[in-house]
Amino acid sequence: MTIGAAAVLFALVSISLSMPTAARADAGVIDRAKLDALARSPYWLRLLHYKTGWLGHTRSLVDGPEFFFSKEGRTDARAELVATLAAFSKDLKVGRLKQLPQCAFPERYRYLKSELGPGVLGVLGIKDQACPQLEEFLASFNAKSATLVFSSAYPNSPGSMFGHTFLRINSNATEKNDLLDQGLSFAAAVPKSDGGLTFALKGMLGGYIGQFARVPYYAKVNEYLNSESRDLWEYDLNLNAEESQRLLLNAWELETNSWFDYFFFDENCAYVLLSLLEVAKPDWQLTDFSIYVIPGETVKAVTRIAGAVTGVKFRPSLRKKMYQRLDALDGRQRELFFKVIGGKMPPAEVGDAEVLESVASYLHYEKQKGDVDANNKNAPLLQATLLRRSQLGDVGPARRPLRPVLEDTRPDLGHDPYRVGTSSGVRGSGFFQELNFKFAFHDLLNKDQGYLRFSEIDFPGATVRFLPKSGVWNIEQVQGLALTSLFPMTFLERRPSWKFNLDYYSPKDLPCTTCQLGRVQAGAGATAEIFSPNYIVYALGLLDFEVGSAVRKGFRWGPQLQVATILNPWPDYKMQCAATLISDLLQADRRKLYTLFEWNHSLALSKDWEIRAGFSAISPANSLMGSPIDSKEGKLTLNFYF
C-alpha cells in the first residue's frame, strides 16, 4: 500500500469520524482536534497578527480584507484556517500580484504543510506550485540574518526623539558589505501633497496605510546619516537564515495582499516590525506594549530578551563626523579651513590633507541642507577640494587622533519613558509632600544618554502636593506638553533654541495656596557651549499667557526673559541654574516685574532611579501687597522610570 493510499484511507476514516462537526467538507479530512489545535496555535495566530485588545477582544491588526480567505478571518482564526486550506486547493489569483494562494501566503503554506504533512495536503488536492515572483523577492535578500536598526533624533528637533526603526536583512554574500544589504522598513504611505497638520492628524487617527518597503541599506544610510544628520544604531539579532526567511515570507504575505492602517502611536513602524520578529522567533514575546509604542522602547524590548542581540554597531551622523574632523584641526589648520571655505584661498594651494578633508566634509554636510543656490555656488569649490585632496598622499599615521564621536544616542541604555516620583520639601515654614507621574518622556534634567542632548519633550503628567499642616491636597501641575530644544551654536551653525510649554499650574507669586492657572508659553533664544560640550548657557525670550480666576480679569500675560546654564560634568549629574525675569503687565496692585530663581540638581543613580534637589525663590515680588508671600522653596525628589 502506498503512502498516498494510506492517506486516502486515513482521510476517509477522518471524514467519517469528523463529518458532523467539520466546518467545511474540504477540511473535513483533518481530525477536528488537530484542526482546533492548529487554529489555536500561537504561531498561526502570529501569522494572522492576532492581538488581544484593551477590552479583551481578540482580532487581527491587519486591515485589508484580502489578507483573509474567510469573511470572519479577522476575528475567527479557525474559520481562516479552514478557508486557507480550501483556497490552497483552488486555482485562484489573489492579492496585488494575482498570485496563486500558496504563492501569496507562502509562510502559511509552509507552516500548514509541516504541521499536517504532505499526505493530508495531497488528499485535499493541494500541490506545491512554482512562485517565480516570490523566488525573485527572496533571492534579492539572500537572507542569512537580520539587524534591527534605530535612527536617533534630528538635531534641534525634540519631537523626533522617538526615533525610527527598520530592519536590515544581512545577505549571505561571501565578502559582505553592509551597505549592499537590503533594508526592510514599514512606514506610512504619505501622499506628497499632505503636509504639516494634515500629516500629523491623519497619522494620529490612522488615516494612512502602512506599507513595507525594500530599500538598499546604502539608501537608508544616506537618508538618515547624511540627509537628516541622525545617528544609526544597528542591533544584530540572533536570527538564522531560516528564521530571517520566515520574517520575509510573512512580510510578503502582508505586503502583497493587504495593509495595516498606520497609527503614529501604536500601530507604527516599530510595532509592526516587532510583530514580524515574533513570527521569526516564536519564543520571543515583544508586542506587549500599552498606550503607545516608541521605537526606542521596542529596541529595549528586544535587548531585554536574553541572547536576542549578538552585537551593537554605531554609525555616527554626517554632522558628528564633520565636527569630529574639525575638532582635530589645530589653530593654524582651522585658519586655513576658513580661508578655503571663505573663497580666500584656492584649494589647489593647500598642502594639508586634513584641512582639505575637513573642507570636503563641511561642504558635504552643507549640501544636504538642499539649498540649490548655495549648492551650485559650492560645487566648484568641492570639486577643486577633492581634486587637490586626491593629489596628496595618505594622511597615514601622522593624522591627528580624532576625538571619539559621542555615542550618546544609543537607545537601549536610556531611561524608561514613564515616570513616578515622590518629593518632600519645605515652603516658607511649612512642609509638603508631592507625588508625580508622567506618561513620557524626557526633560532637561534627565540623563541624556539615549536621547537628544539638552532637549525636552514631556507629555501628559501631573504633580499633586499635600500640605500636612492644613491637610490640603493641591494640584501642583498638570503638564500638557513641554518642548525645549537647546541647540548650542557653533562657529559654523547658528540655529535658534526654542521652547514651548502648555500646562495648568499652581502659581507661586499669588497669595493663594490652592489656586491654579492655565498657562501657555513660547519663545526662542540662543545657546552657547562654555569651553566644553558638557556646559551650556542659554537665553530665551518667552511670551507667557495665563488664564484662571485667581488673577484679576481672568487672565494675565507678559514677556519673560530667561537666562540659564546647565552643567553636565559627569553623564550622571546635571545642574541647572536659571533666572527668569517675569512681567505681569496687567498687574495693578503690586509690582509688574519680578524674578524667579531656580537651582536644580539631578543625579541618576541607575538607568531608572534618579534623585533631584531643587530650590526656588521669587524676589523681590509682592512688596505692594498687604501680606508678603514667603516664596522660598526647597524639595528633594526621588524618581523612578518604567
Partner: protein, 192 residues
C-alpha cells in the same frame, strides 16, 4: 482612556510632525531639478564636445540622474509598478523622480553599480579622492572587484580623469569601468 491619550499626544506631536514634514519637503523638492539641470548640461557638453562620451555609456537623453534615484521601492518593486497605483499612493511603489524620461538602457550587469553610483555620488566622490572608505568599498563590490584597496588607490590616482568637468554619476561610473579595463591587475580582480 486610550482615546484621551491619543488626543493629548496628538496635540503634543503636531508641531514636531510639522517640523519634520517641512524639513522633508525642503529636502526633497529642489534637489532633483538642480541635479537634472546639471546633468542635462553635462550631456549636452558630451554631445558637442570633442572628448565624446565614454564607451558603454548609454544615451541619457538629457534626463540626468533623476531617473534612477528611487527613494523607496515597494517590496514588490518593479513587478507591480503598473498595478499598484490604484491602491497605493503614488509616492510609493513607483520610481520617484523619473521626470518623464525614457528608460535608460543599462545592461543588467551595470544596473547595480550605476544605481549605486547615483545614490551615493556625494559620499563616493569624497572617498574616491581619499582613496578609501566603506562607501567606496561597496562600490568596488558592485563592480565585482575583490581587491577594494587597489580599487581605492586607482580612484585616488585617477580622480581628475574620473570626475573631470561637469561630471555625473552615470558618466563617472562608466569612466571607472573604463579605467579598470586599462589596469590589468584591477581587471583581473574585478568582474566588469
Amino acid at each position: 482612556m486610550k482615546i484621551l491619550t491619543i488626543v493629548l499626544l496628538a496635540l503634543a506631536l503636531a508641531p514636531a510632525a510639522m517640523a519634520q514634514t517641512a524639513k522633508k519637503k525642503h529636502k526633497t523638492a529642489p534637489a532633483p531639478q538642480a541635479e537634472t539641470k546639471q546633468a542635462a548640461k553635462a550631456t549636452k557638453t558630451n554631445e558637442e564636445g570633442p572628448s565624446g562620451g565614454v564607451p558603454g555609456e548609454p544615451d541619457i537623453d538629457g534626463c540626468g540622474l533623476g531617473w534612477q534615484v528611487t527613494d523607496s521601492q515597494s517590496i514588490i518593486g518593479a513587478i507591480t509598478r503598473g498595478t499598484t497605483n490604484g491602491t497605493v499612493p503614488p509616492s510609493f511603489g513607483m520610481t520617484s523622480g523619473s521626470l518623464g524620461c525614457k528608460k535608460v538602457p543599462f545592461t543588467k550587469r551595470d544596473q547595480a553599480g550605476a544605481t549605486y553610483a547615483v545614490s551615493n555620488y556625494d559620499s563616493l566622490r569624497i572617498e574616491m579622492a581619499e582613496g578609501q572608505g566603506e562607501v567606496l568599498a561597496a562600490f568596488a563590490r558592485t563592480l565585482g572587484c575583490g581587491d577594494t584597496a587597489a580599487f581605492g588607490r586607482m580612484t585616488k590616482k585617477n580622480y581628475g580623469t574620473l570626475l573631470e568637468g561637469q561630471s555625473t554619476p552615470v558618466r563617472m561610473f562608466y569612466k571607472v569601468k573604463q579605467q579598470i579595463q586599462l589596469d590589468p591587475a584591477l581587471t583581473a580582480s574585478c568582474a566588469v
